[in-house]
Subunit: 392 residues, 2 copies
């Protein structure tokens, strides 16, 4: 398995100008979104670029929960700019958009669907060399700074899908906990739920040696290869941090220890699921966010309806793990214990129910919307949600 | 921090021919030692090279516990061969020798001391591009497949020293537990002690944010950067595996689960210390092995006196951690607990003694030679041992 390089520490963002100098970058593309473009994380990057005399252009038109259209807009910007390095400052939406821009600018003759995951796209392997991309996450959820995945809403089909290739993984992730101090409460919560599900799903994913088919040539094996002894280390470690710190990080923006630990947990869980993969919570989340009607979440300053990714993932998690426990009941019990359940007298056959109950309690304490109804879905939507889940 | 790519699984060595094809390799240097050249791990590699039509030359003259002379011999072979890829099949001695050969063949005008660590060498940064190196470890100790370090005996000064640069880190480590099944008992034990000390030393190393000086440019920061939240994960995980499996792996060569886990632990601890660094056990081990007189260990088929690296490291460990506990007593207690101590009523000020006692018991159970006297040293050797330790 392959693991990204990361640098961690309060204030390490100020070194980014030196990193770009060391890379010999002469024309840098700085990607972010409209909200962030006026906030401290982008300022920290701009100051460092100025200090080290780095020539750059800003693209701040990234859409939160990007679409094929918003990807294409960023790609066009990247193609025109002929950049030799990229910097993405933001959450998963920004980092994923920047990965796509880097990829398609490096393969000018590729059609958009060429690299999109099959069956929606053609899932072609990436064989062109990409430019260096430095990712500076400002949320603590996606782990996108450590993965080779870029997710977007495919508007025509009303589904989320993505591009997955080791080639688009950032060259360096800068994990600077200072950027988490300005995150509003619900963004901390929803991005933390994403970390929770990355950890739980990658730990309970089909083990790598049970996946079929296994391509005989290592170069053809997917980035998502099933749970394995290394992704397990990251998943469990991230889950322990979530259990210990998520509540504190949500409730108190001044709790630097909690927010710093969640920022690391996001990267750790990213390394885990970036190699193992995720399963049902994420699979079902894509139609849940793709089919959104009028829901507008608190703390998100956007002009369109939106189910935040972490929320769309976590809503189904109690039901998902009640169901998946039959495959690996020991791992489900172990996860429940980490999240606070007393399993001393638990029966292995109850593992799924125990983890589901533990999750419900954990989420209830964190004021999660109460199920799909709370975000605007009714029974009549079930067929469409199922239809949207099946391609995943 | 930077982490190597590794592939894990029984039999994955047979894919190495494909990896070399994928790399476009046309002239491969296969390095190993005389013993291994007739054993199953090398055979598995040779079969794969033949199957995929890979053109190669063998160098099987690696010295166990290499010296500057043995490095130079391998370097000369590499320079002549004009190879475009390297494969190292063996323990740390083979992998380290191969790293040095790759480095100096890529910098033909460099003097040997240019890249050797200061103060013995000049410690110059590596700026030339190296060829891909695939490492196939056959012992479970060094973790060399995941690190940017190559260690050797500098004969003239009778000390061990090395070369440390991210640039010499292998491109891929192939962690194939099949290769551990033929390891004799004492090799399992001594290499396991190396894992134990890598984990303990990197977990108790000076924290990265307390190290001085901190070079302002990230490119000048050393590979060994002090303990940090990521190396901690690897160190603790490796320590738990050692506590659970080392005894079983030593005693029963048929215990595949134990030997496979120790093979992974070696890589995990390597990722930990390869980023955090090691301290006194390793620092003191270099004169202990460098000044060896007549000691010839059981199970090592060599024609020269030798203190196996893992043994030279572990002999001082109880004394070392009794001493270092004052810096981080909590971490020392935590390590003692993982190794089996009951710390419920322990006082924090006794952390060093508790870890030392726990280690003595752990090592006694594994039939470790009883101190420096058992490997041929007397009181009269102390000044020379101290002198050899100080440059470290």
């Amino acid at each position: 398995m392959a693991i990204s390089n990361i640098r961690y520490g309060e204030g390490v963002t100020k070194e980014i100008g030196m990193d770009l100098q060391n890379l010999g970058a002469r024309r840098v593309c700085l990607m972010t979104d409209k909200n962030l473009s006026k906030l401290p994380p982008v300022n920290a990057v701009l100051n460092s670029l100025a200090k080290y005399g780095i020539n750059f252009q800003i693209y701040d038109n990234v859409r939160v929960e990007p679409t094929d259209q918003s990807f294409l807009d960023a790609i066009q910007f990247a193609k025109k700019g002929e950049f030799d390095a990229y910097v993405a400052v933001g959450g998963g939406s920004v980092i994923d958009t920047c990965k796509a821009a880097n990829l398609y600018a490096a393969s000018p003759s590729a059609e958009f669907l060429d690299y999109v995951n099959a069956p929606i796209g053609k899932g072609k392997p990436v064989t062109v060399p990409l430019k260096p991309l430095i990712a500076v996450p400002t949320t603590s959820g996606t782990g996108s700074e450590t993965t080779g995945v870029a997710i977007f809403d495919f508007k025509e089909l009303k589904v989320k899908t993505g591009i997955a290739s080791r080639a688009i993984k950032p060259t360096l992730g800068i994990i600077d906990p200072l950027h988490t101090l300005s995150m509003p409460e619900r963004i901390v919560a929803n991005s933390g739920f994403d970390v929770l599900c990355h950890a739980l799903e990658s730990y309970t994913a089909l083990p790598y040696h049970q996946r079929r088919p296994c391509p005989s040539n290592p170069i053809e094996r997917p980035a998502y290869q099933g749970s394995n002894p290394i992704s397990d280390v990251w998943a469990l470690h991230a889950l322990r941090i979530v259990a210990k710190y998520l509540k504190r990080a949500i409730r108190n923006p001044e709790d630097r220890e909690a927010r710093a630990n969640m920022h690391l947990a996001s990267a750790f869980a990213g390394i885990g699921f970036g190699n193992a993969g995720v399963h049902l919570c994420h699979g079902m989340s894509y139609p849940i966010s793709g089919l959104v009607k009028t829901y507008k979440p608190k703390d998100y300053n956007v002009d369109h309806s939106l189910v935040p990714h972490g929320l769309s993932v976590v809503l189904t998690s109690p039901a998902v793990f009640a169901f998946t426990a039959q495959m690996h009941p020991e791992r489900h019990l172990e996860a429940a214990e980490i999240l606070g359940a007393d399993i001393r007298t638990a029966r292995i056959k109850d593992a799924g129910l125990i983890l589901a109950d533990t999750l419900r309690k954990f989420l209830f304490d964190l004021n999660v919307d109460d199920g799909l109804a709370a975000i605007g879905y009714s029974k009549a939507d079930i067929p469409a949600l199922v239809k949207g889940t099946l391609p995943q």
